[in-house]
């Protein structure tokens, strides 16, 4: 061995070490900033929820704004949630029929689809669709109002913008999500029925008979409770992001993006914890 090959590597190592160290530091700083941002966001959302709760019980009661949001969140989402429910049920019907037919248990298709839809698929999928359609729209609308000073204008006109803008959206989302979930449940089961009975030839009696044996009212209720919570989370995230928009049109785009991403992730994360909590409720009731 000569000296020359062994002399160069220490310098390379030194450069590499420095790069790794800087990358590590910036990575740690990034993670730290992310965690602080997350804590700030969660704190801000909790604060907004509490302010909204107080504004909800204080007059004036903004029935017109509320009905407008009911129409937008509920009626306006019927088509997209209905189509999603129908095709989710159909694809679930195809897959479960084929799987159950391996051991001649096709009669379980109806109950399996109904149970999965009512407990999990309907609230979660409806939640994701409402996040995409309603959450994005809420964040964009409120974000645009923020950057064009329309929210400040409300304040200068002695109107509480939380009561005027946020409360009707939160309440409408909480109330409409269970209805959309029921729609998803119904059309999902109808889709599976169509696949299993009409295209695969299962008798209607076999498809339907197991549903009432396997699916308890508590299963449906737990799905509806979930969906109401998802409604709150979706609208809260969207309103919070929109309300705190800065940075002009680019900021509005960022707020919309964050509302959809954060809302979707929140629905899935909270679904897990709600499932654990509600399982206790379902098993106690059973």
């Amino acid at each position: 061995m000569t000296d020359s090959p062994t002399e160069a590597p220490p310098e390379q190592h030194s450069d590499l070490d420095q790069i790794v160290e800087e990358a590590f530091e910036s990575g740690v700083a990034g993670v730290g900033t992310g965690i602080i941002g997350l804590i700030e966001d969660v704190g801000g959302m909790v604060e907004l929820a509490l302010q909204s709760a107080m504004a909800l019980v204080r007059p004036p009661y903004r029935i017109g704004n509320f009905l407008e949001q009911i129409d937008f969140v509920g009626v306006g989402s019927i088509f997209v949630v209905g189509i999603t429910g129908l095709f989710t049920g159909m694809v679930f019907g195809v897959q479960s029929y084929n799987a159950f037919s391996l051991f001649n248990a096709q009669s379980l298709v109806g109950s399996t689809v109904a149970l999965a839809l009512s407990r999990e698929l309907a609230p979660v999928f409806a939640g994701l669709m409402v996040t995409a359609r309603v959450g994005s729209s809420m964040a964009t609308e409120l974000g645009s109002m923020r950057v064009s000073e329309q929210i400040d204008a409300l304040v200068t006109l002695a109107i509480d913008p939380i009561q005027y803008l946020v409360v009707p959206r939160l309440v409408a989302a909480i109330l409409m999500m269970p209805f959309l979930t029921i729609l998803f449940d119904g059309l999902g089961i109808l889709g599976a029925y169509f696949v299993a009975v009409v295209t695969e030839g299962l008798t209607p009696g076999l498809f339907l008979s197991r549903i009432h044996l396997w699916v308890d009212p508590e299963d449906v209720i737990s799905g509806l409770i979930k969906s109401a919570v998802f409604g709150l989370i979706i609208a809260l995230v969207a309103c919070y992001k929109g309300f705190n928009t800065t940075g002009g049109s680019k900021g509005v785009g960022r707020a919309t993006n964050q509302a959809v991403v954060t809302g979707s992730v929140a629905v899935l994360v909270i679904d897990y914890f709600l499932s654990l909590a509600l399982m206790g409720y379902v098993s106690k009731s059973s």
């Binding site: 064009s148 000073e149 204008a153 304040v155 200068t156 006109l157 002695a158 509480d160």
Partner: protein, 275 residues
């Protein structure tokens, strides 16, 4: 669209200063807004560094200053859109800055505010924009509300735009509608955020006249933040110059113009030399 500077300046300089005395009513000495030792920072950026300012009833006060001097921040404290780090904001003799939000809303009914970009509600027609504060804060029936809205629209010369939406109006028209909305409840104090920024000379002159008319017809106390010196001398009976978060000169226009403060001298010299 930005105004063409030289044209704007020459036109306004000829009529502007003499018109300052056109603010007819002599303001009473009763203070309606008092700012005491106001400090405000955003992160490490200290924007206001101990502002003291008194605005008397019936006066038209223009707060002049360059970009980033803290004018908008100061105005937002006057109407409670921001809370100070320290210092006091007193409205009509009562402390305002430390009130809870519900109580601040009551005090805000004394104010109307005209925003730089008008901040009209873009989902509402012009009629609905002007009717909005009436619907929220009065028990007027539909007929009375229509009467008041059209009266305000007549005053800003835009009755024929009642059914239009804000995006169908020009910048100057939007500001006039913003004023009509701000005046809908006959407020005691009207705040104007950069009312002439970005307007051509003729529209600027219209907006200046609008400010003078609002004062003459309603006797309102007007506070204007601006960097438009021509308009300031045209409409103001009280000037304050804000620089780096502090008031550097404050008083009647002729007194402020004669100020020996280096920034104020330079601020006016650049404009008056050019005109």
């Amino acid at each position: 669209m930005p105004a063409e500077p030289s044209a704007a300046v020459s036109e306004r300089s000829s009529s502007g200063i003499s018109a300052s005395s056109g603010s007819s009513a002599r303001p009473s000495a009763r203070p309606v807004i008092e700012i005491r030792n106001l400090h405000k920072s955003f992160g490490k950026n200290e924007v206001l560094k101990g502002v003291n300012l008194t605005i008397t009833e019936g006066s038209t006060t223009v707060i002049l200053g360059g970009s980033g001097s803290g004018k908008s921040v100061l105005m937002k404290h006057m109407i409670g859109l921001l809370r100070p780090d320290s210092g006091e904001v007193i409205i009509d003799g009562d402390r305002f800055d430390n009130l809870p939000e519900g109580a601040r809303q009551l005090v805000r009914r004394k104010f109307g505010m005209v925003f730089q970009q008008a901040a009209l509600f873009d989902s509402m027609t012009i009629f609905e924009n002007v009717a909005f504060p009436l619907r929220e804060h009065t028990d007027f029936n539909e007929a009375k509300r229509r009467e008041v809205v059209f009266q305000k629209l007549d005053q800003v010369g835009l009755r024929n735009k009642a059914d239009d939406f804000p995006d169908q109006l020009s910048g100057g028209q939007r500001k006039r509608i913003g004023l009509a909305r701000a005046l809908a409840l006959d407020p005691k104090i009207v705040l104007y955020d950069e009312p002439t920024t970005g307007l051509d000379p003729i529209t600027t002159d219209n907006v200046d006249q609008m400010v003078i008319d609002a004062k003459r017809e309603y006797g309102v106390t007007s506070v204007i933040i601006s960097h438009d010196i021509g308009s300031a001398f045209k409409v103001a009976d009280h000037l304050a110059v804000l620089y780096q978060g502090m008031i550097r000169a404050d008083g009647p226009p002729e007194v402020v113009r004669a100020s020996q403060d280096p920034f104020v001298k330079k601020f006016f010299a650049l404009w008056f030399d050019r005109s």
